[in-house]
């Protein structure tokens, strides 16, 4: 035995020893617990830490949030607040026409709903199309394929605030993009202070920030399609467009459904990068639901935690529906996979 391996063994023993002592200490009570409760009790024992964390950080806040949504006033502590039942919900849902936010009692909420709805439709569509095209390109034998995969995934690793800041430096009036346009003789554009461009910038930036993740899922799906099928299609004289629509897309559909639902969930929750980029402006043109909840609950002078909580519960309901759809799709894919 070499000196090195002897030292290694001693270090290993020193690390393992405390674990052994700990095991010896908890062994006796665990045995007693198992004798008393059986294997079901043991399962409960091992699940308890996780359930505790879930309870403290997810379940309890959810219940407390719901209780807040049934109270009014601007006090933060629940006992100091007055119970109003469903009044906050009524206030949010009271509307002349849901298509016109100005007819609603809580017009900002409905403006945020409209903005979020439009954002979800446009951003998810663009995100899916761009991610799909990128995945299709990265799935081909291109030079530096691994490098390009890393490049497209890189923004996913950035904090949303960093994403927002980077793009603010690029898009602000005296930012990089306008400087470059000026060099080529174009007039500067108000990317972040024009209603249309600010909304478009929000979509573009969030697509840029998230597409790497979705590209990765689609790429994995593309690579799971057997190469033989494409060769069979080639032998069958299938045109490239038909190969995509009749072979690639149907076989990619399980992944695509997951991607669409995840993208929808993320898009509904959009906040940080766009908030850093535009602050919800100009006016309320990039005000989204999460920002509305944050501002009503914490940031405005006349803060109303009850109203914010009610809005978050309504938004949560939408997310629950989307999550259930995702779970259903996932289960269906699993069953289908098992059959094939």
């Amino acid at each position: 035995m070499t000196i090195g391996s002897a030292i290694g063994q001693k270090i290993g023993a020193a690390i393992v020893a405390p674990i052994g002592w700990l095991a010896a200490i908890i062994d006796a009570p665990l045995k007693l617990w198992q004798r008393a409760t059986g294997t079901t009790g043991m399962a409960a024992f091992f699940l308890a830490p996780n359930m505790l964390i879930f309870g403290v950080f997810v379940l309890a806040p959810f219940v407390i949030n719901f209780l807040y949504s049934t109270t009014s006033g601007n006090a933060f502590f629940l006992p100091d607040r007055s119970f109003v039942g469903a009044e906050q919900y009524q206030r949010l849902l009271e509307c002349g026409s849901y298509l016109d936010p100005s007819t609603c009692r809580e017009d900002l909420f409905w403006k945020a709903v409209h903005n979020t709805g439009l954002f979800v439709v446009l951003q998810v569509t663009l995100l899916i199309v761009v991610s799909m095209i990128t995945a299709l390109i990265l799935n081909r034998e291109i030079v530096g394929r691994s490098f390009w995969r890393a490049v497209f995934f890189f923004p996913v690793l950035l904090s949303p605030v960093v994403v927002g800041l980077i793009w603010r430096w690029i898009l602000q009036r005296q930012g990089l993009l306008n400087s470059m346009l000026y060099q080529f003789g174009y007039q500067p554009t108000e990317w972040l202070t024009d209603r249309f461009w600010a909304f478009a910038a929000g979509i573009t930036v969030s697509v840029w920030a998230h597409m790497g993740f979705f590209t990765l899922i689609l790429l994995a799906g593309l690579q799971a399609i057997p190469r033989d099928l494409y060769e069979a299609a080639e032998m069958d004289g299938t045109r490239p467009g038909r190969v995509f629509w009749r072979i690639t897309l149907p076989l990619l559909m399980p992944n695509l459904l997951v991607v669409i639902i995840l993208a929808l969930i993320r898009a509904v929750q959009i906040f940080d990068e766009v908030y850093v980029l535009t602050g919800g402006g100009p006016g309320t043109s990039t005000l989204f639901l999460t920002q509305y909840i944050y501002e009503v609950g914490f940031a405005s002078l006349l803060r109303n935690p009850g109203l914010a909580a009610a809005a978050s519960i309504l938004m949560g309901a939408v997310l629950v529906v989307l999550t259930l759809v995702q779970l259903q799709v996932g289960r269906r894919n699993e069953k289908k996979g098992a059959r094939e």
Binding site: P226, D228, L229, E231, A232, A233, E234, M235, D236, G237, T238, R239, R242, R246, I247, P250, L251, R339, E340
Partner: protein
């Protein structure tokens, strides 16, 4: 028509050359089987024929038309893939129709062709099922059906039986053979299973390391293998190859010595062998018998007996470490081991020189 001619075909991937100067003339209506061990280039050659890969150099003709750079779809060939490559999200009917729809064929014509193929392959009852709902054998039929409906100039089959169990392989092999006779269309069939090659082929092409080792009719390859590789590859169990030495020569014969105390005269009228020269004697396991005499006998210890009923396969080992396999008629050994003397008719021996090439001697 379905004559395929390959002239000086080479294929290299970077610096690695996988096919070397392949010359092959496949006759119209022929069942040609490409056989060889894994990595010998047989599938690559089939892909070149299909148009799924391009040769680095050389020329490929179908019915006299140069198709070397013609796309797979325009070669008029159909391929049956090892994995079947059926579109899993389509029904059997859709799988069969897909290639015909690409050609913008009228629906009535598509239906007629599908009906003919399904009747021929007895897959009519599965038309509305998806591949995932079919057994391996049924999928295999559908894959063949997809090729049949295209009415191709030639069929290319890439190890189509390799995913089937042993029993189904035998029955499907017979069906493919019958299909070939019925359609009378050229078929190029790739396999690593020499039994499949022997039973199906009009001609066999034996390949090794990207080169053609021998082309011939199955029994020609069996009876007169061109070299040691073909001798070892064709025939099951594989041929016994004994390293021997020429002890003496006489007009029309040579006296040889080999492992297991072998000492015998072999007719070698055409062989240009000299005393002291090393060469290899090949003897098929089926040509060996158990005997008593010591002349021309190989003395060996029995290591394993496989009693198959109508024949017995004896695995033996000589004192000098030479493995020998003998297939004996009937039930001759009881499996208790011991020493036996194996004999063979010198006329059944195959001679190979030091470079491994066949020495004509009969």
């Amino acid at each position: 028509m379905g004559r395929i001619t390959l002239t000086n075909i080479d294929r290299a991937y970077g610096k690695v050359k996988v096919l070397h100067d392949i010359n092959l003339d496949i006759q119209d209506g022929e069942m040609l089987v490409l056989v060889g061990p894994s990595g010998c280039g047989k599938s690559t050659l089939l892909r070149l024929l299909a148009g799924l890969d391009q040769p680095t150099s050389g020329k490929l003709e179908i019915d006299g038309r140069d198709v070397t750079r013609v796309s797979a779809a325009d070669r008029g060939l159909a391929m049956v893939f090892q994995s079947y490559a059926l579109y899993p999200h389509m029904t059997v009917r859709q799988n069969l129709a897909f290639g015909l729809e690409n050609q913008r064929m009228p629906k009535a014509e598509i239906d007629t062709r599908i009906n003919e193929a399904t009747r021929m392959l007895e897959i009519g009852q599965y038309l509305d099922r998806r591949p995932g709902q079919l057994s391996g054998g049924q999928r295999q039929r559908v894959a063949i059906g997809r090729a049949v409906v295209r009415n191709p100039t030639a069929f290319l089959l890439d190890e189509p039986l390799s995913n089937l169990d042993a029993e189904l392989r035998i029955s499907t092999r017979a069906e493919i053979s019958a299909l070939h006779k019925r359609l009378a269309t050229t078929m190029v069939y790739v396999t690593h299973d020499q039994v499949e090659a022997m039973t199906l082929a009009d001609r066999i092409v034996v390949m090794r390391a990207g080169r053609i080792e021998q082309i011939g009719r199955p029994l020609d390859l069996y009876n007169e293998p061109a070299n040691l590789f073909v001798a070892g590859f064709i025939g099951a169990p594989r041929m016994n190859l004994l390293p021997c030495k020429v002890k003496a020569t006489a007009p029309g014969s040579v006296r040889i010595e080999g492992p297991g105390g072998l000492s015998m005269s072999i007719v070698a009228s055409d062989a240009n062998l000299k005393p002291g020269e090393d060469f290899t004697v090949g003897i098929r396991p089926h040509d060996m018998t158990i005997g008593m005499g010591s002349d021309g006998a190989l003395e060996a210890q029995v290591t394993l007996v496989e009693a198959l009923g109508p024949e017995t396969v004896a695995h033996t080992l000589t004192a000098d470490g030479q493995k020998l396999v003998a297939v004996l008629k009937g039930q001759q050994l009881d499996g208790s081991g011991g020493s036996i003397k194996l004999h063979f008719d010198p006329a059944m021996a195959h001679l190979f020189d030091r470079s491994g090439q066949r020495v004509p001697h009969r």
